[in-house]
């Protein structure tokens, strides 16, 4: 019998929340990717999006505000054979967790980051998040936002993410396809997942997005993939993605912006010094003999500390 990727909990998001679409897309992507259910781990931070793991019937770890990336990194590096997917809000990943977001780009650990982007902090009543443009006054704000917004796609590209995409919560099938591509990507994938917040963001509504979104993959000329491990090719695809990331307003591109699988993952970098890392990862490595004594030997491992005559 096929594994049921839904838990039987009541999903407590507001009616009309973009998270419902993202949840459905994740569940479908996991079913289609077809790993052993025990081998998936969904990691989240804090906020509305952070409840996602509880609604997916695979292991889930709902962590601290801003820290989903380090938690996901610890899991993946301790057991590189797991499939790790991370859900974080725009405030979670780009404000309180911004340092981790930058570091993750530099590491390129093989996992997928789904950035739930709705421009607001929903669970604390609609404060402005880092993706809300300056001058915007959503209904939870006392005054128009006086912070400038940041561009998650350009930020991700500039710090080294090797798969950068955007999807839209209410095109579940497309979002599922993008998530699946992100999971299959070797390295850190980030998806800027646009989602309305029907309760607090009365500007970027479903209607607002529906009028603006267009799909990059409908353009036959659009090729976001780095095809050769050559500097010129990488630079061309990178600049093309940066340029595309600047499009926002009347038209909003959705799809894969950039993909480069020639960058070694962090796990592969570990393997350079630890050749059997994937076969004998920290998670399952034997540490004691049958009698409970240590397998590690001080004289053997720390011989450089012996004072020799």
């Amino acid at each position: 019998m096929a594994h049921n990727f839904k838990t039987d909990l009541w999903v407590d998001w507001c009616p009309g929340c973009g998270d419902f679409g993202i949840l459905a897309a994740i569940q479908q992507a996991l079913a289609e990717y077809n790993a052993k259910p025990e081998n998936y781990v969904i990691v989240s931070g804090i906020g509305c999006s952070a409840k996602t793991p509880h609604y997916v019937n695979v292991s889930g770890i709902h962590t601290l505000h801003g820290r989903a990336i380090p938690f996901a990194t610890g899991i993946k590096l301790s057991n590189p054979n797991l499939t790790v997917i991370l859900d974080g809000g725009d405030g979670d990943l780009l404000s309180i967790g911004a340092g981790h977001f930058v570091a993750a780009g530099r590491r390129n650990v093989d996992f997928t980051i789904i950035l739930h982007n709705n421009g607001v902090y929903g669970l604390t009543k609609g404060q402005a998040s880092p993706t809300l443009p300056r001058g915007t006054k959503t209904k939870g704000l006392q005054r128009p936002n006086i912070y400038d917004s940041l561009n998650p796609i350009a930020l991700a590209l500039s710090v080294g993410y090797t798969f950068v995409a955007r999807a839209y919560a209410f095109n579940i099938r497309h979002a599922k396809d993008i998530i699946l591509r992100a999971i299959k990507h070797k390295g850190t994938a980030v998806i800027d997942l646009l989602q309305p917040c029907p309760t607090y963001n009365d500007i970027n509504t479903k209607e607002w997005y529906d009028q603006r979104i267009y799909y990059l993959d409908q353009d036959k000329e659009w090729d976001p993939i780095v095809r050769k491990p050559e500097e010129e090719e990488v630079e061309r695809k990178y600049l093309q993605a940066i340029n595309k990331s600047l499009e926002w307003g009347d038209k909003i591109p959705v799809g894969v912006f950039y993909q480069n699988e020639f960058v070694p993952t962090y796990e592969e970098r570990i393997k350079q010094n630890f050749p059997n890392y994937f076969e004998d990862p920290p998670a399952t490595s034997q540490i004691s003999k049958k009698d409970g004594s240590a397998v590690a030997d001080m004289e053997n491992i720390f011989k450089d500390k012996i004072v020799r005559k």
Partner: protein, 633 residues
Amino acid sequence: MSKTDIDLIIGGPQGGGIDSAAQVVIRSFTIAGFESYGLREYHSNIKGRHSYFHVRIKEEPVRSLRYPIDMLVCLDGETPFVHMDDVTEGSIIVYDSDFENTKLEQVVTMEPETQKHLREKFQSLKVEPVVKNLMEYQKSRGVKVVPVSFRKLITDTLGQNKPPARYSNTLGASISMAMLGLPADITKSGIASVFGRKKEVVEDNEKIVDAAYKYVDSLGIKVNKLNVREYRERFMVTGNEAVGIGKVLGGLKFQTYYPITPAADESFFLEGHDYFEEAIENQNEQLRKTGVVIVQAEDEISAIAMAISGAMTGARTATATSGPGFSLMAEALGYAGINEIPVVLTLYQRGGPSTGLPTRNSQADLLFALNAGHGDFPRIVISSGDAEEAIFDAVKAFNYAERYQMPVIHIMDKVLANSFYVIDKVDSSKIKIQRWILPTSDTDEYLRFKFTETGISPMGFFGKQIFWLTGDEHNELGHITEDPETRDAMMEKRMKKLEIASKEIPLEDKLLVFGDKGAEIAIVSWGSNKGPILDAMEKLKAEGIKTRFVYLRLFSPFPSKEVAEALKGAKIIIDIENNYSAQAALVIKEYTGINVNKFILKYNGRHVTEDEVYKSIKEVLNGKDKVVMTSGA
């Protein structure tokens, strides 16, 4: 034959090879069959400021350092000033005569406050604050002064092409060993043992050894030859390295860290020993290569988060940090608490608050270790007092973390971290690894937080079972709940594990009582003060003053009954600690109601010495309620 007991300080600029000089001294004396223990003191600076190394050498195991010292070796013009009071009648000062005309005010590397204190001292002594005059003063009070032109001796030996500054450390060390009567060939072995792989460096330095011995010979000073003892194969490790060794023997597989003094040396050491061969079976028949993954994280929050989540895959994981980094880890510590995650955090205390004294000693993080993080959650807090304890405690930290499924904080301090210890090999058969309870059935629905009699639930892992974790209060499956009854049950389940730990952890891991167990004078202390206190107690005993020493090792769960028992009948209880507020005494009061009534405290960031503890206890016995120890440069 009189017993050997030598205290030696070698001082010079940071970046001037003090560390190598220290290694040469300790390794040479180890090769000669002596016991030694040494400490590095340094500024938060890369090059230029004053640093020194204080070592003590004996036939018996060395537990502490002592002032006044027997020999001071000055590699620059600052050391003679800074350490002028560390010597006494009969001590020897070896100094670089090229700095003879250095005036105190010319020592730009010295902090203005230190200059001011010294200037005042020179004024009261009516001595010109110039190295030359200082040496005359030292001679006048019976100190033997040996001038050496380092530059001349080095260039005469190695020619003009070698920079003298690069060899002054080994020259200083060699002269001191020549004067202490250690045979030259042993000093050469010590040199080879330090610079082993660099052939040219070894050859040059061997020439320096010969020159040093010849020079000392030419002085016509009577040197008592030391009787070389039997060599044994031993390990020279710092406290940082001891913890690293303990962790690897204990099965560490994943360590995370963010650079910070004095914790980072542990992870740096592990990075150099992260791929090795292990014997899986008892008879060493099967060897395999395996490794430890060490991750330098982007900050301490990330470091602890990675270690916590890594533990949920089944790996033994740990992180190591110091005060400021530990402050950042507080929130995640609570996450490990509510999610019952076995993670080990090694906490190297340094002077606080804030950046404080980043390279100096402190024991002021005890209360923070016991209370860090919001809300109530169980944790185990253990403390080590020397390298051997640190090795075994690192293993026990993992065992406790997994057995009781909670975070374990293993407290060290700067003195432990940066001291050199010479220890015997720890046999792997003595390392006992105890892990979690696993689920008995693979088919039943797995409940990560299953209610049990002990509060301990069978452990599941990502990759094995399906379950949830959340920082919210949760049900047995790990899903969020705010149900009041479940909240009570979960809170009680988690906290109950501390009672089980309290019952199971053996007495010797809770506290040790040294000395005369019925003595009316009781000393309480912890951490790196153990050695100096034990040595001071012997001196007191020789004078007929009996003392007992309640040495605390486990702070959470606090062994209240055992501590009360150990202090029973004591008339005077003296608390010795390296912090302002006598934190361990506060903990004793909190858990046992016992009032500690005398205090010997130190918070200047420097190490506690045998003589200082001895003197301070005497002051307490003469009626003082509180003594603040102030020694150390």
